[in-house]
């Protein structure tokens, strides 16, 4: 008790940013923190339960659902990593995501360079054609994609996913990169042209370094929906060796539903890398995804 008083009293009159914090403000601040902390708990707790349960035994799940496991039981993880194709699902997800993001960035940067740098007939028209795709979910086009991939023989092929994700990523990327291209002062071009650079060299040497923030935003913005997509793999991927992490997890969930530690181990394996990636780059993620939402 003494300690509470000891720490509280000097704080009541502490000068913060030139303003004196009065006791009433201090109490509301404490209440605000209490609410915000409580909500943090609401967010974290389910994920905590997932990780904790994955280390329990089946018996512990039933008898002690809340406490920490007595000893760390890794049998769930053994089942997930050794008896299933989870590592292959990971490889597929990484491949599809990396290739799609690279394609999105390359084709969108090229198109944005043309749209942002040059005035030509049809410029506005093409720009709005791209923009029209920004708010419409591509899954509404799945029926015809079904036909297209049937006739191209791309059923049960990761290339089908890559093509869909690339098309889906183009509108927002063109939007954000074109805006950046337009901001680059024309004087920089003229200087480069005098030095004898052609259009291609100007793009690579002058524009590309300056476009990096826009390219990063677009990559982060598309990473999440592509990495997490379940819809298109569900419809287009059939063989186990081609499943992505969400689709593999769904099948696994159906098969092992009664073996909780194993199911939670699978869910943990499926989300922890994404969470770590997010925690390392949370500022960029929040900025990129919010910008996408606001501008989309």
């Amino acid at each position: 008790m003494w300690q509470v008083g000891h720490t509280l009293i000097p704080n009541l009159t502490r000068v913060r940013g030139g303003k004196i914090v009065n006791p009433k403000v201090r109490i509301t601040n404490l209440m605000t923190h209490a609410i915000l902390l409580a909500y943090s708990f609401v967010v974290i707790y389910p994920l905590y339960i997932m990780v904790i349960t994955s280390f329990k035994t089946n018996l512990e799940v039933m008898t002690k659902p809340f406490g920490l496991p007595q000893s760390i039981n890794l049998s769930g993880y053994e089942t997930v990593l050794l008896q299933t194709n989870f590592l292959i699902y990971y490889r597929n997800s990484i491949m599809v995501t990396v290739v799609s993001l690279l394609l999105i960035i390359v084709v969108s940067t090229l198109a944005s360079y043309a749209l942002g740098r040059y005035e030509f007939r049809g410029n506005k028209l093409i720009y709005f054609f791209f923009l029209a795709g920004m708010m419409i979910p591509i899954r509404l086009g799945v029926l015809n994609l079904f036909q297209i991939f049937q006739s191209l023989n791309l059923f049960d092929n990761l290339l089908a996913l890559i093509l869909i994700y690339t098309a889906m990523g183009i509108p927002f990327s063109v939007f954000i990169i074109t805006a950046f291209v337009k901001q680059i002062p024309k004087e920089m071009l003229e200087a480069a042209q005098i030095d004898g650079c052609n259009d291609w060299q100007i793009l690579i040497r002058i524009y590309l370094p300056l476009l990096r923030p826009a390219i990063a935003t677009s990559a982060i913005y598309h990473f999440i929906p592509i990495w997490n997509d379940f819809y298109f793999p569900l419809i287009f991927i059939k063989s186990d060796a081609l499943k992505t992490v969400p689709l593999g997890t769904a099948i696994f969930f159906g098969q092992f539903q009664t073996d909780w530690p194993t199911v939670f181990a699978a869910l943990t394996v499926a989300v922890i890398p994404a969470i770590i990636f997010y925690l390392i780059m949370s500022k960029q993620f929040i900025k990129g995804l919010t910008a996408g939402a606001v501008k989309g």
């Binding site: 809340f66 084709v107 040059y118 029926l143 994609l145 925690l279």
Partner: protein, 301 residues
């Protein structure tokens, strides 16, 4: 000569993006909606049937019952999401914009589930909500509130709001961040003036924060419409493709999937599926159009 070369250059730069976007997004979208005028089971020839699919969807049993049920549920999902996600987000955003330490920490936490897979979030919650072994009911038992323990996903009256809550739990970070940005954009003098005039917190919120946030609130609502009317994964994960119990959680996205791809009731009918997609498309376009209208009005004033 130089000019001609530039023109070829422009075409070459544009071509890859135009081809990929047209072939795998614009064209499939239009053709899929157009498929609503045909009868097709996924293989073999398509036959033109005019507006037959729409007629069946709106007037013929049992299709119309399923369709209107899904449509109603979709509007309910929207209402629940507005309440559980957007209203709560607004409250938390107001708290986060008070001059406090550690708001970065809270924002990082609140945003985290946004980056996770909808499907996996659905699975995690399905296990937490499990009526016999789930942590939620066990916890209620532990604190003596055993009467509140429910078969959360098995009760037709509870399943949809519970799923809406899980969806809100995951995505609340987005509206929070948008509201925080919106509140920060309101000039600080307005808040100070109001406080000097002796306004209490509620009055400040009612007279300054809320009017200043109107454009952002509009945008958040539109994004909620787009998200809700194309949702599928969360229902699939928590209630299955049959969207049980007894279709209580069926939305247009799940009805579309069942109609077009799975032969649970009858032959899969891509044409009927396309007709459902047309309704989803119209609702989403209506949302987007009304947002552009509101936005342009706000930008003028």
């Amino acid at each position: 000569m130089a000019k001609k070369r530039t023109r070829y250059g422009i075409i070459l730069y544009l071509l890859p993006a135009v081809i990929l976007y047209t072939l795998f997004m614009a064209y499939p979208l239009i053709m899929s909606l157009g498929m609503s005028l045909y009868e097709w089971n996924g293989y073999g020839p398509m036959s033109f049937v005019g507006l037959e699919n729409f007629k069946r969807l709106l007037f013929v049993e049992p299709f119309n019952a399923r369709f209107f049920n899904a449509l109603t549920n979709n509007f309910k999902l929207f209402a629940y999401t507005t309440l559980f996600q957007n209203v709560v987000a607004l409250f938390l955003a107001v708290l986060l914009t008070k001059k406090l330490r550690g708001t970065d920490f809270y924002r990082t936490i609140y945003f985290m589930p946004v980056t996770l897979s909808v499907l996996i979030v659905g699975f995690i919650w399905t296990l937490i909500l499990n009526p016999t072994w789930g942590v939620l009911n066990k916890g209620l038992e532990l604190i003596g509130l055993v009467n509140l323990a429910k078969p959360w996903l098995g009760d037709p009256n509870l399943a949809l709001p519970v799923i809406a809550y899980v969806n809100s739990w995951q995505f609340i970070g987005l509206p929070i961040m948008m509201f925080v940005a919106g509140i920060r954009a309101i000039p600080e003098e307005l808040f100070e003036a109001a406080r000097i005039d002796g306004c209490n917190e509620w009055h400040v919120f009612r007279n300054i924060t809320l009017p200043g946030l109107m454009p952002i609130i509009g945008l958040v609502m539109i994004l909620t419409v787009v998200g809700n009317f194309s949702s599928f994964e969360i229902i699939y994960a928590m209630a299955g493709t049959m969207a049980g119990p007894n279709y209580a959680t069926d939305v247009l996205g799940t009805l579309f999937y069942r109609t077009a791809f799975s032969a649970t009731s009858a032959q899969p009918s891509m044409g009927m599926g396309a007709a459902i997609a047309v309704f989803m498309f119209v609702i989403i376009c209506f949302g987007v159009a009304s947002w552009s209208y509101i936005d342009s009005k706000f930008n003028k004033s």
